[in-house]
Amino acid sequence: MSGPAIELEGITKRYPGVIANDHVDLAARVGEIHALVGENGAGKTTLMRVLGGLTPPDEGTIRVRGREVSFASAADAAAAGIGMVHQHFTLVPVFTVLENVVLGDEPGFIGGLDGVRDRVVELAGTLGFSIDPDRIVETLTVGERQKVEILRTLLRGARILVLDEPTAVLTPQESRDLFKLLRRLVKEGRTVLFISHRLAEVLAASDRITVMRGGRSVTTIAAAGATEGDLARLMVGREVLLPSAVRGGSEPGEPVLDVSGARALSDRGVPALSGVDLTVRAGEVLGIGGVMGNGQTELMESIAGLRPLTAGAIVLEGADLLGWDAAARIRAGISFVPEDRLDRGLVATMSVEENLALGLMDDERLFRGPFMRMCALRQRADATLKRMDTRPSDPGLLVSTFSGGNQQKVLLGRAFDSGARLILLMEPSRGLDVGAMEIVFEQVRSATARGVGVLLVSSDLTELMSLSDRILVIRRGRIAGEVHPGETTEEELGLMMAGGGA
């Protein structure tokens, strides 16, 4: 029963200038949940791509249930029973669950759909949840969509399920559901391999953990008996301060931002904010907790000047921002770190220093009239990259050549560099490893020490609890309550977000 399901031996993958995987070994047994952890750029994603048949390795062997295989394409990997669930879902939003499940693997006849319908319902049932195969995917929650992805993979005969940061977009309750589901899968003799940056959930959910560092596999340990500190040390190669231990009390000053009675519409034209009041004080981190899609994005965008309010007022240090556009608000001292770095944050086709310059266009030291001071800009960019510890550290490279975590560091570095009075921080550590999170937390701490106000939106409750001085829970566009991190638990917070409790 517990034979090897998949064995990777000596996997090596070189890219120009970097070795992404350097003789990596990994073996997952039948019937286990196996976690893969490591810093940004440690080579986890490359390894997963090799496993999924998306990237052919330069060296090394792959064995599935003891048989050596080589994958020329994702289809080969799928045929060998390996199913990938990607971080960005691959479902068609306007199709039904059933249509998505059969898409790309359609039965030959129209009538064939009914057979699949029964199998979908049956499989969902055996996995302990129910799903209506005729629901339009758009109307599903993120957690439900992920289950559809998993269902689809299983229906195509996957015995080994590979998940890339599956919980990054889930609420704590949804994550627990997911791991329950995964546990059932492995009980039936399947194998689960997943990547995660959240060490607590890795320890709680997995059987064994493989740690990667600098393109190599460092070790594989049993989850039982290990601690977060152990994992962090193995990943970084030195002792690290875990986020939860960092933030001390601070004394907030004058209000920096006052939002009163704010109402705004979502992109689809339905009310997303229904009267939000909040105040951020100088030197304070005000956290906003909530299930994604409850108005957080609209709140941040209206403060940043990217979305008009239909009612209410936003006041920055005494000045009413009504009618100010994004450029004027940046000049007034607001810096915005959006939730999706490549959507609203960075221009992937431009270099890192150009992206930094874009966020600092009012900085006299970087521009002489309309002209860019190339030397000053290079120096500034070098300093920022060094402070954020990005790899690679050449600011002349295009943003698209950086890994996601390192792009995130560029985005954060730009915001903390801007001299802003108010930083709107969304999902700051999305895709970041513990070492990088340490840097982000340090940046937040030093910003607040300078009297900067921070408004933080995060779906990672641990991050929210450890960074915030106060937390407001937002639900359906309203503030549903306020809690203090020291006086509550993640469980209570999660319940409030979901609508239970007060």
């Binding site: 990607h86 890339d164 940046i330 221009v347 431009m350 309309p370 860019m372 002349g396 890994s403 975590g405």
Partner: protein, 349 residues
């Protein structure tokens, strides 16, 4: 500079590849690529007149290439360069005859300025429609092209305006004093070419060394990210289209002042559309556009000689141009696929 080389390297390789493929094709038909190539180059460079014609032929291609490339960097597709340059040519011809009594020193800038402002009108309308009403600039510029063809045709024929010189659909000859000649006598290098290269250098600097250029490229690369760092999208759209119109106007003005010495109906063999290919081959870099413009000009200028000396129909050059465009376009598509894939792979790497 390193980045310029990197960006232009791929199109250069592809142009060479296209030349190689064309040579194979010639071999297949039993022709010697060496002789055909020699005839073509001889036609383009043999005498000083040939050289002057070749270089002058590059000027409208450089300007229309720039007129497409600059808006393209802002994420806009200016199909209207053709209409813009025709309007400019017409305005230049009319201005030069109406104010023929002015001294050349005053008349020359006046002609250029009026042609430029007139060409910026349709470009500005397209930009305004895109940023205010959301009408796509491709649709707007194509339709404006038709409006301009008809408008200019009509204006030229309104008898009370008296613009038509004689029976031919053209304006009167422009004064001698404002006809453009060689910049350095005896070299074949025209004043217009020098001006075109200067404009390209300015465009290069503005795009890559100034704040407006930074904002323009940011909006082209990722409009939503540009918006969140305070780039006003509407201004970039309107501004880059106006610049595109101004650049296209220089092509029309040069045709009047240097080549035809009056506005002649149908003077443009589709320069505005060839500009799209020039921008593509020049990797949308102003200096790359200069090289691409010269390259296309050599092909076109040598085509007659190739026809006469080697017996290859000059339409074959058009075939070669299309081959190059297809190769560059397919490489661009492949490249953007690769980038898209690298983007998702970068998730947690």
């Amino acid at each position: 500079m390193k980045r310029l080389l990197r960006e232009v390297a791929a199109p250069v390789q592809l142009a060479l590849l296209a030349l190689g493929l064309a040579s194979l094709l010639l071999l297949l038909f039993g022709e010697s690529p060496y002789h055909v190539g020699k005839a073509l180059l001889r036609g383009a460079f043999a005498s000083r007149d040939d050289l002057a014609r070749t270089l002058a032929g590059a000027v409208p291609l450089i300007f229309t290439g720039l007129a497409v490339a600059i808006p393209f960097r802002a994420g806009l597709f200016n199909i209207g360069a053709e209409g813009q340059l025709i309007l400019a040519g017409f305005a230049a011809g009319v201005t030069a005859t109406v104010f023929a009594d002015l001294s050349p020193i005053a008349l020359m800038p006046l002609v250029m300025l009026i042609a430029m402002l007139v060409a910026m009108i349709p470009a500005g309308i397209a930009g305004w429609m895109r940023s205010r009403i959301g009408i796509h600039e491709v649709i707007a510029t194509i339709l404006l092209n038709f409006i301009i063809y008809s408008l200019v045709m009509w204006l030229l024929r309104v008898e009370s305006f008296g613009l038509m010189a004689g029976m031919e659909p053209k304006t009167a000859e422009i004064p001698l004093g404002i006809r453009l000649g060689e910049a350095i006598p005896g070299t074949g290098i025209g004043v217009a070419l020098v001006f075109a290269v200067l404009i390209a250098v300015v465009a290069e600097v503005v795009l890559f060394r100034t704040k407006p250029g930074l904002m323009l490229r940011a909006r082209g690369g990722n409009p939503r990210a540009a918006e969140s760092v305070g780039v006003r999208s509407g201004r970039v759209i309107l501004g880059s289209m106006l610049v595109g119109g101004a650049l296209a106007s220089f092509a029309g003005t040069q045709q009047v002042l240097e080549v035809h010495h009056s506005y002649i109906e149908g003077f443009s063999p589709g320069y505005g559309f060839t500009g799209i290919a020039v921008a593509l081959l020049g990797a949308n870099r102003p200096l790359g556009v200069v090289l691409a413009g010269l390259f296309f000009a050599v092909l076109r200028s040598g085509a007659f000689a190739m026809d006469a000396l080697a017996g290859i129909p000059r339409e074959a050059v058009g075939l070669l141009e299309v081959l190059i465009i297809l190769l560059v376009a397919s490489e661009l598509i492949r490249g953007s696929f690769r980038k898209a894939r690298a983007g998702t792979a970068g998730g947690v790497a």
